[in-house]
């Protein structure tokens, strides 16, 4: 391996990348945009559940719930409740009859209304109805003879819920890495289209030096920008070496994918086509961080899962090397596999 040639190629590709105005602009703009979006998103999670009540006064026992993280709001009318619900000021609303307690004590059936907004999760609706029934049992002295003890696995996140912007970080990292990879692919396809690759191959440069040079340039640019973004958003405060390792492996992974995309592309448009498809697929694991429970086990078949999961666990839960070691090994294996596959495919295509 002639490292002088490799270094020459890295410098050339870096120079050409920033002379491609589109990718240079998108890279810089993207970096600022991601950091800006991060700081615009809420930095904390409001864990209180706000319940609106149409009633003369707050019924007994309901008051006790306020100490359990519920916030009760007495409202004058059904119209006001509906408006507050639609505005998102309250999570759920109960319309209680004026003489609820008297009615309950007399044994007559009481009619209440439970209000939900149109987008309220279906599976939670029953929970709020059951909650009310349970309270009624308690108010009428018919408490069920069941003692429920809470057993929590893992860290108790009560009061420590991960804010949306922290959940966005893995998604942003994947976006940054993939945008840089599209830049690398477009550089390669431009070299083929313009015939400069042929000129390079007729010098003393060997194919392996070309691929190491291209890989180093592509992975380097992707890694640098991902590190800047993570650092600017405070993601390097916990286990910086671990995060840097994960990002480096992620950069190698997407570089391999960049080689694959370049081998299947003839021009910038086809690079964009493949690139967008890859971004959509690789971003899926990030959505499972944003919306836990969205996907089942098959999400682990997507290579970016191991990067996303590692970044998420380290930044948001302070995971250690031991806890994400398997992820890193999987990421290393996948990165090497994709790099090898990309190099072989590219070599077969253009030699």
């Amino acid at each position: 391996m002639n490292w002088r040639i490799v270094w020459t190629l890295v410098r050339k590709d870096t120079k050409l990348f920033f002379r491609n105005r589109f990718f240079a602009f998108v890279s810089v703009l993207g970096l600022f945009a991601y950091i800006g979006i991060y700081y615009l998103l809420p930095g904390s999670v409001d864990e209180t559940i706000k319940i609106g009540l149409i009633a003369d006064q707050i019924p007994p026992l309901f008051e006790d719930l306020q100490e359990e993280g519920l916030e009760l709001m007495l409202l004058d009318s059904e119209a006001e409740l509906e408006q507050r619900l639609l505005n998102g000021d309250i999570t759920v609303g109960y319309g209680l009859p004026d003489d609820l307690m008297a009615g309950l004590l007399s044994g007559s059936k009481q009619q209440i209304k439970v209000y939900f907004s149109y987008d309220f999760p279906e599976e939670l609706k029953d929970a709020y109805i059951i909650l009310f029934r349970e309270l009624v049992f308690m108010m009428t002295g018919q408490e069920l003879n069941v003692q429920a003890d809470e057993v929590l696995l893992g860290q108790d996140m009560a009061g420590l819920q991960i804010p949306p912007r922290k959940r966005m970080l893995p998604l942003m990292a994947v976006f940054i890495l993939m945008i840089e990879t599209m830049g690398l692919s477009s550089l390669i396809s431009a070299e083929v289209e313009e015939g400069t690759l042929t000129a390079l191959f007729t010098t003393p440069m060997r194919a392996r030096e070309l691929f190491v040079g291209k890989g180093a340039a592509g992975a380097g640019m992707a890694f640098f920008q991902a590190v800047v973004m993570i650092a600017a958003t405070g993601g390097l405060r916990r286990e910086p070496v671990l995060i840097l390792t994960a990002l480096l492996l992620g950069s190698l992974l997407v570089t391999g994918m960049g080689f694959l995309m370049a081998s299947g592309s003839r021009d910038l448009m086809s690079v964009m086509g493949w690139g967008i498809l890859a971004i959509v697929v690789l971003a899926l694991p990030s959505f499972s961080v944003l919306f836990p429970g969205l996907f089942t086990g098959w999400i682990k078949a997507i290579p970016s899962y191991y990067l996303v999961d590692t970044v998420h666990k380290v930044i948001n839960f302070g995971a250690s090397w031991g806890e994400v070691g398997i992820n890193l090994l999987a990421l290393l294996g996948l990165s090497l596999a994709f790099l090898l596959l990309g190099i072989v495919t590219l070599q077969r295509r253009y030699r």
Binding site: R4, R19, E194
Partner: protein, 287 residues
């Protein structure tokens, strides 16, 4: 071990069912300019690609500077310069950056890009991006790039095609300078006048086969006729053409009769062009 700069033995290349180059054999001596002539699609560029390592021959072998291309391609490529048929420069880099990049790849130190650019007439535009260059300027830069490593063998594939006369002449002068330096030049062209003027020997390639290979003079001797063309005043007072074939026994008498019996207005000699000879050999023209 031979001392030829290029030695091709039974070189063959096929694109699917089409045989582009069909078992051609030739050699080029060190310091020689070989004109490789033929119409479009005859197999010229495919031959260059095999001789420069861009294509691997399906059959046969090429030896350059005594080295087998199949075994030591990079050692050979370090000693050759190629000016491709299609311009392939980094458009978003300047001329100087293009040359410096390739100088670094060839490991040329120290390297004076300005001097080389001056040699091809690009002084004053060194720092402009190639994307702003005219076709002639790009071609001059292509030639400059081929000279970076002071190559022992220079491959020039249609170096003057489509160029203005000034640019074409500049490139021809560089080819002659390189021969003076001792470089071997493999010149691919379908410009017969250019080949005639520059080449020590010319090879005609047609449909993948070499159909003639010799010095331009020998080819003209073998295939062409030298003639004397005269214009005389006829009996009706109008100009009439006369043609006298040279190099035959009766030539002296015919020439004597022309000048003694006719009123000669103009006279000039004419010899067969390489194009005439190519047509004679292959039965078709060069385009």
């Amino acid at each position: 071990m031979n001392t030829f700069a290029i030695n091709a033995e039974e070189l063959t290349y096929r694109y699917g069912d089409l045989t582009a180059v069909d078992h051609i054999s030739f050699h080029v001596a060190q310091g020689e300019i070989l004109g490789f002539l033929g119409p479009n699609g005859a197999g010229k560029t495919t031959t260059v690609k095999m001789l420069t390592g861009q294509l691997r021959p399906k059959e046969g072998k090429a030896t350059l500077l005594g080295l087998d291309f199949a075994r030591q391609p990079k050692k050979i490529q370090a000693q050759i310069g190629i000016c491709f048929e299609r311009t392939n420069l980094y458009e978003q880099m300047s001329a100087k950056e293009n040359l410096e990049l390739f100088a670094q790849l060839f490991g040329v130190k120290p390297f004076d890009a300005d001097a080389l650019l001056g040699r091809v007439g690009l002084t004053g535009r060194e720092r402009d991006r190639v994307a702003t260059y005219s076709k002639g300027m790009r071609q001059r830069l292509m030639v400059a790039r081929a000279l970076i490593n002071q190559p022992s063998i220079l491959f020039l594939d249609e170096p003057t095609e489509g160029l203005d006369p000034v640019s074409a002449e500049a490139i021809r002068n560089i080819i002659l300078e390189e021969r003076q330096r001792g470089a071997t030049v493999f010149l691919t062209t379908h410009d017969m006048l250019e080949a005639d003027r520059l080449s020590d020997r010319v090879a005609f390639i047609d449909q993948g086969k070499i159909v003639a290979l010799d010095t331009p003079h020998a080819l003209k001797q073998a295939y062409g006729k030298r003639r004397l063309l005269a214009q005389v005043i006829g009996s009706d007072g109008k100009l009439v053409g006369r043609e006298i074939v040279l190099d035959v026994p009766e030539t002296p008498d015919t020439v004597h009769q022309l000048f003694s019996q006719e009123q000669v207005v103009t006279v000039h000699s004419e010899e067969a062009s390489l194009e005439d000879i190519f047509i004679q050999i292959t039965g078709r023209g060069l385009v």
